[in-house]
Symmetry: C2
C-alpha cells in the first residue's frame, strides 16, 4: 500500500524536473456535457504523458550504486519515453522493451532520448519474460510501467496538483490500464478530499478492470483491440488493484468512436492534442456514462503521443 | 498613438474575461533552433485567437448608451468570432459582415455566439461600404479588425503578460497582417524593456508590411495567396503602421512550407494546435530567418482556428 506521504515525497523528487501541467477548461465542453470540467493537461507533461512522473520518481528512489548500472522498462509507448527521458536526466543507460507494433512516434521518441530499444511480439511473447532476462544479464534495475509503489506515488502527484488548483472537485475521472495512475491519484485525492468520487475509464474492448471490479478479484482478458494503444493491458496490477478496489467507485466504459469524437472536440475546440487513451476520461463525461449534472468534475488528459498520420486517419474516416 | 497606460487600462477591462494564456516551452524546439523560446499560447485564448483581447477591450470602452444599440464587425475569420463572443458577454446585438462565400464553419461559429451574419458580394461590394451603411442605419458602433487604438491596446496585453512571466526576453517575434497585434505588443514591450528587439513576421506572398518598412510608407499589394488565411490583408493600417515603423526592428518572411513544417512540430511535439497564421512567428525562429543563437526569444502563437480536414490535408501532402 502507499500513503499520502509517499506522494508528498514523490512531489519533492519531481519538483523542477516534471512540468506542473496547466488545468484547462472549455465553456463549450461544459455546455454540451452539463457539468463543469477541469482538465489536467498531462499531454503537456514532459515526454507527452503523465508517465514521466512515476518513472522519474522510481529512478530517483533507486540506490545510487544500483541506479548507475542503468534501468530497463517494458512499455507500449509512453512509459518507454518517460523512462528513457528520466534515465537521460540521471545520465544512466536505459534499455526499453517495446512491442513490435508500437506507434512509430513512440519508438522514435524513445530512441530520441538515447535509449536502446529491443522489440518483442506482443501476441506471442511475454514482455516481462523478455525484459527480466535482459535485466538480469546486464544488471539493470527494472522500472515497471505500473505495478510498483514508487511508480504509483509519482503518478499520484497529478491528482495532488489538480486538487491544489481546484480544491472543490466532486468527481475525478481517470483512464485505467494497469491502474498505476488511477491507484496513485485515488490515494492522493481521497486523502485530500475523502468524499470525492473516483471513477476509472476503460475502452469497451479492454474492460479487464471493469470485470475485475465486478468479480472482486483480478480478471485477465486476451490482449484487447482498441485504438487506445496506451490502455491495452490485459489485467490490472497485483499491487494497484487492491487500492482501486478499495478507493474507486466504479469503472466506466467508452467505445473507440466515442474516443475519436472526444479527441476531435478537444483538438478542434480546445486546441490541444490528446491520444486516444488520453481522451478516455473526457469521453466518459462527454458521452454521459455517469450522471454528473451540475457537478464539478476533474478529468485527467493522460497523454498526447499520437502519430499525426494515424490521427488524420481517425479524423477523416 | 497609444501609450503604455492604454494597455494597462485594457488589461483591467479584460481581467477575468479573457484567459491569461500559458507560456509554453519545448526543449526540442530550443535544441533545433539554437535559442531559448517562450511561446505565448494565444491559440488557447477564448474564441481561439488573440483577437478576443482587442475586440473585448474595444466594446468595453464604448460609452454605455451607444454600446447598448450593438456593434458591427467585418471579418471572415478570427475577429468575427471574437467580436461576436465579446458582444454576447455584454448582452448586446452583434452584426458581422462576411463575404458571401465565407467558409460555412466560420459562419456557423460566428452564429454560434449569437451574432447576426450579413453577407456581401466580395467581387462587387466593399465590406467597409456595406458595413458602414448597416451601422449607420441601425446605430451600431463599428469594431474594426486592427486599425483602432482600443483594438491595439487590447492586443498589447498579450506582450504585457508574456513579459511579466518571462521578464528577461531579448527578442519578441509576432506575426503581422493589419499589424494591430504587432503595434500593440511593440508599445507594451518597448515600455517594459526598451532594449528588446521586435520583429514582425509575414508570409512571403503577403509581404505588404515588409515592403512598407522598406519604402517608409504604406504599400498596398493585391490580395495575397497563402495558406495563412489570417494574414491575407493587402496593407498595414493607417494607425498601426506609424507605430510599427517607429518601434519594430524589421519584418521577416516565411514560406507556406515553413508554416506547415512548424505547425507539424508544434502539434506533434508540443501537443497544441496552431493555425497557419499562428505558426508564422515560430516558423521564423525554427527556419532561422534571424541570428538568434543563444538568445531568449518570445514568440506569440496567435491562433488555433483551423479546419481539421484542411489541417490533415497540409500534414499529409
Amino acid at each position: 500500500m502507499i500513503t499520502f506521504n509517499d506522494i508528498l515525497e514523490a512531489r519533492e523528487r519531481i519538483k523542477g524536473v516534471a512540468h506542473r501541467t496547466p488545468v484547462l477548461t472549455s465553456r463549450q465542453f461544459n455546455e454540451q456535457s452539463g457539468c463543469e470540467v477541469f482538465f489536467k493537461a498531462e499531454n503537456l507533461q514532459r515526454a507527452g504523458a503523465f508517465k514521466f512522473r512515476g518513472a522519474y520518481n522510481k529512478i530517483a528512489s533507486i540506490p545510487d550504486n544500483e541506479r548507475r548500472r542503468g534501468i530497463l522498462a517494458y512499455s507500449s509507448g509512453n512509459h518507454a519515453q518517460a523512462s528513457a527521458l528520466a534515465a537521460r536526466i540521471f545520465g544512466i543507460p536505459a534499455v526499453i522493451v517495446m512491442p513490435h507494433d508500437a506507434p512509430k512516434i513512440k519508438v522514435a521518441g524513445t530512441r530520441g532520448y538515447g535509449a536502446e530499444v529491443i522489440f518483442y511480439d506482443r501476441y506471442t511473447e511475454s514482455r516481462e519474460g523478455t525484459g527480466e532476462k535482459i535485466a538480469a544479464e546486464r544488471g539493470l534495475t527494472i522500472v515497471p510501467p505500473f505495478d510498483d509503489y514508487q511508480i504509483m506515488a509519482g503518478q499520484g502527484t497529478a491528482a495532488l496538483e489538480l486538487l491544489e488548483d481546484v480544491p472543490d472537485l466532486e468527481y475525478l475521472l481517470i483512464c485505467c490500464s494497469g491502474c498505476g495512475l488511477l491507484a496513485g491519484c485515488a490515494v492522493a485525492a481521497k486523502h485530500i478530499k475523502p468524499d470525492i468520487r473516483i471513477y476509472g475509464v476503460e475502452p469497451e474492448a479492454a474492460n479487464d478492470t471493469w470485470q475485475s471490479m465486478r468479480k472482486g478479484e483480478i480478471v485477465e482478458i486476451p490482449v484487447p483491440k482498441t485504438i487506445a494503444d496506451g490502455l491495452q493491458t490485459s489485467a490490472p496490477g497485483k499491487l494497484t488493484f487492491p487500492i482501486v478496489k478499495q478507493l474507486v467507485d466504479d469503472i466506466l466504459l467508452v467505445s473507440d468512436d466515442e474516443l475519436i469524437d472526444t479527441m476531435r472536440f478537444i483538438l478542434e475546440r480546445m486546441k490541444v492534442l490528446v491520444e486516444p487513451s488520453g481522451a478516455a476520461a473526457a469521453a466518459a463525461v462527454r458521452h454521459r456514462k455517469l450522471d454528473l449534472a451540475g457537478r464539478r468534475v476533474g478529468v485527467i488528459l493522460s497523454g498526447g503521443n499520437v502519430d499525426l498520420e494515424k490521427l488524420c486517419g481517425y479524423l477523416t474516416k
